[in-house]
Amino acid sequence: MSAFRGGIALAPNKQGLSKPITVVPLPSELVFNTNKPLVNIGDTVLAGQNIAANTIASTSGHISDIQTHRSHSTITLIPDGESKYTPAITNAENPIAAIEAAGLTGLGGAGFSTLKKLQSQQCAELVTLVINAAECEPMIACDEALMLEHAPQVISGINTLMQITCCLQCIIAIEDTKIAAINTIKQALVDSANPKLQLRVIPTRYPGGAETVLLRQLSGAQLTKSQRPADHDMLCFNVATAYSVHHAVANQPIFGRVVTIAGNATNQPCNVSALFGTPLTHLLQHTNNLPGSSTANPPTGKMTIKIGGPLSGRESNASVIDLANTAVDPNCNAIIIERTNQTADEQACIRCGNCADVCPESLLPQQLFRYQSNVDKLNEYQLLNCIECRCCDLVCPSAIQLTDYFKQSKQILQKQSQLQVDAQLAEARYAARETRLVRKAREREQELLEKKRKVAIAPTPAAMDIAAALARAKAGLIKPSDKTS
């Protein structure tokens, strides 16, 4: 077991694990933020039906509203409470068909389609299937809770993934502080008796569960930004995805996930199981964690709500985030509600290099910060390899939120490469137009020549008369003297 370079040993702080996962009751309406709706208001939909590109209805019911905003559309679904599956789900006969019918999405955070990942590697006989159960970010405990309560189903899902991909071995990676989860998984492994499956305990060190970092510490493989794990003979799934696969192949997919609710401004940190589309207000109300609902602790300090972990999550002020219109989606692994009194003011970078010491990708954040709008330098210092883990932010003595700057710089790079693509397209268009004009001019010239030649071949009647007269004259039929006389 070798620790990876960089990273920080952070206290796990998994708050809600003492209680079992509670199921959030069906809300009165589900909300889906998406684009390109495929349904209309009043349509009746079934669980598993595509209601928009990359979005499926998580239960059956009817569409009550579709709001179109500038960047996205919000579909509101009123559940009928029967949760009727589409025929494709109930009739699916093999695992791949079942996963396709269930429209599974990876639950690890990248939101990649499980079907696409599996189809590209179906019976590819890669060496290693990696199940990411590290859950390295503090506070997030949804995967750990899942393993504590549903280890046999998780292992069953992993076995299905192994059958589909024909990998030679499977490594389940868990951090060493998750002792109870390690034990339940161990027991489930003994029960399943598949010798290809093995458990790998990794050190508790953030961000050891980030895909590139995990694969590096398991195999030493250096993934660059443009590479997939398959380029290094590996395939990576999140442990929660494996659990979803188990239910999908049993023709009973669950269109939801476990969500951690934690943070010092919550009344009851917990892990809940919620359907996709459950509005966050419903989730927080049900768990008695709605901000402002507490009277025990008079609110002091600035409150932040983060969708995702305390480090990798999207941060928003409670007022900015519209809790009723934000819903659980496959990437929503945690809701962190915190109050802080301290605010650290950003100071000048003194180039101490603490950030470079903790960077798991061996980047030089101080250089990326210095050259934050210099496209060439950003590429030279490999900004695109940044996994936005925020380790550098944590150790910066000047309290600089480096990752925020890097996100902006990435947009600059993106814009730049888009400009390049546009320029190349424009150039290609120009070149095509030029050749087309040249070709047309040549064609017209050709046509004119052709016409002239036709004129030459097929003379006009007058010319024919003259020609005939000349011919007669030559033949001596008409003598010039006759005319004069």
Binding site: C352, G353, L364, V395, A399
Partner: protein
């Protein structure tokens, strides 16, 4: 970002730790050479704060935010420790203003400067006042009281009568001694040279700075790369010279225990703003400082070359970073 996850260090606390680490070296300096160094430090710090405040006011920025990080207090302290203690106040003050304005504020303040501000101030004084900058109080013959020394620092030019109590910097006297050795009836032997250095105050002062520097390493305020490479380079080069030279030379061990070696290696060369940035680059940077210091000490015009070595390597630091990054990507 939740504050709880953040480590508690800040720029201000880093600067404070470095200032604390300077105490053992400063205390031995004050005890063995002259307590006037304490007055110099206070003087420099006050002038630097005033100069920084004026600059920030001229730049239309908050003076308090710039001063609160403590970086200028540290730089002023380092400058006061680097110059000869009896340097007249007006020269010391000019050097401090040059440090703040030329060394720091003209580049845009903390984090933007190319050169180490304290060494900019030092170089400014060295080229402006070479006479006063190269004579040091001879502690072994010191007979003046503090009051007399302070009085001596007030006039606008150095009174020639004080030449009797001053001498060249220790390294300079060693160089002179070894140069004259051939002509002397009783040449200075290696033994007497060593004796001369060991009996002087500098080994103990360097020990004081070494203790503070090791504490900074222990507190992880600095990394080992720069100090070790500077000291090791000086050790090896001085060692090679004393092995190959026929004349008595300051040995490798005494070389790193004299002059500004420890102060420079742990407190000046490690200034992160102006040093190279990756660990390998830092080692190269340190080797560069050690080599240049050695070259200037042995063959240059100045007795102690640390300041110029640091300034020269400051210029090279971005280049070292650039080349190493390109090499690393290959």
């Amino acid at each position: 970002m939740s504050i709880e996850l953040r480590s508690s260090n800040s720029v201000t606390s880093v600067m404070l730790l470095v200032l604390l680490a300077l105490i053992p070296g400063t205390a031995t300096y004050a005890w063995l050479i002259s307590p006037i160094v304490i007055i110099n430090i206070v003087f420099c710090v006050l002038i630097a704060i005033a100069a920084e405040a004026v600059c920030m006011w001229l730049r239309n920025r908050s003076a308090l935010s710039a001063l609160s990080d403590g970086s200028i207090i540290l730089a002023a302290t380092l400058l006061a420790l680097a110059v000869p203690p009896q340097l007249p106040f007006w020269q010391l003050g000019l050097g401090t203003v040059a440090m703040v304005v030329l060394g720091k504020q003209l580049y845009g303040g903390l984090g933007q400067n190319l050169f180490n501000p304290a060494m900019v101030g030092f170089a400014f004084l060295m080229v402006s006042f070479p006479q006063t900058m190269t004579i040091w109080i001879d502690s072994q013959q010191q007979s003046l009281s503090m009051g007399e020394l302070i009085q001596a620092k007030w006039p606008l030019s150095v009174n020639s009568q004080w030449d009797s109590i001053t001498q060249a910097t220790p390294l300079e006297s060693i160089r002179l001694a070894s140069q004259f050795a051939a002509d002397q009836v009783a040449p200075m032997t290696q033994v007497t040279l060593n004796q001369y250095v060991i009996n002087g105050p500098w080994p103990v002062i360097n020990l004081g700075f070494l203790v503070g520097g090791l504490w900074l390493l222990y507190k992880r305020v600095i990394s080992w790369h720069i100090p070790l490479s500077v000291i090791a380079t000086l050790f090896v080069l001085h060692g090679l010279l004393s092995l190959t030279s026929a004349q008595p030379q300051i040995g490798a061990t005494l070389a790193i225990a004299s002059g500004a070696t420890m102060l420079g290696a742990f407190f000046i060369a490690t200034d992160p703003v102006t040093a190279a940035t990756s660990n390998v680059a830092r080692v190269i940077y340190g080797i560069g400082i050690g080599s240049l210091t050695f070259v200037i000490r042995e063959w240059g015009g100045y007795p102690e070359g640390f300041a110029f070595a640091v300034l020269l390597m400051n210029m090279c630091a971005p280049l070292i970073d650039l080349i190493l990054n390109r090499y690393a990507q290959r």
